[in-house]
């Protein structure tokens, strides 16, 4: 897995963050804050899963 592989998930995470962040919200500022928060959450989640997989590969394979 290269950084380019991981980078392909960034636009997808952005799309998910926009849709999920905008759902159920009305104000533009509220939507912006929610999208930013969701995107950060997804980024941390994907990076954490990537790191875990890397560690598993390094130590067990």
């Amino acid at each position: 897995v290269t950084w380019l592989d991981v980078a392909w998930f960034v636009p997808l995470m952005l799309a998910i963050a926009v849709v999920v962040g905008a759902t159920g919200r009305n104000e533009a500022g509220e939507i912006r804050a929610a999208v930013r928060r969701r995107f950060l959450e997804f980024t941390v989640m994907v990076l954490a899963v990537g790191v875990v997989i890397r560690l598993v590969v390094i130590y067990l394979v």
Binding site: D5, W8, F9, P11, L12, L14, A15, I16, V18, V19, V20, A22, T23, G24, A28, I31
Partner: protein, 198 residues
Amino acid sequence: MDGLPPATLPDRSRLPGFRSPLLAGVLGWVVPGLGHVYAGRPGKGALMFLAIVPAFALGLWLTAFTCVNPRTYSLEFVAHAFLGLPTGLALHFTEGMRLEELPRWFEVGRLYAAVAGLLNVVAISDALGEVIRHNDEVRRLRLATWDEPAPLATPAPVPAPAPEAVVNGREAVAPSGDAPAPEPAALPEESDRLGDPS
């Protein structure tokens, strides 16, 4: 209504009408974001469109336009089916296309297209919520303006009843003007009531 000032009359033409949740759902299914436009939220609709349709198009491009195929990828097609027009166009224009070799990002492209379809489910449900919110607001406005009960006319003050004399268990009629008060009917004698024949 003559007694009401003109400013309080409800202006029926200015009140927005109810919108159909079913139509919003269908429009949002056909084109992502169109349900929001129908619900009166065009900016949010554009946001949904710009998030979902490019993700679907990117997925198509990464798979060399072969990922929308109900026979080969039947499970993913369930997700694609939530994008009405984009999936229909993809089916129409990519029918019969075959891969010479697997693109490098083929799996990523499949993920993009499937996730885009599932994201439209979220967008459709949000459009339904927007329509329901709009209809609640219209209902509230109509209750506040249209169906407001007309103010009741102030009733004329009722004069307090004159003290009435009670004579032998009957209410006496109060004398009015110069007319003499009628004499109360004479009660029968006690002997008459007892049926004394004498």
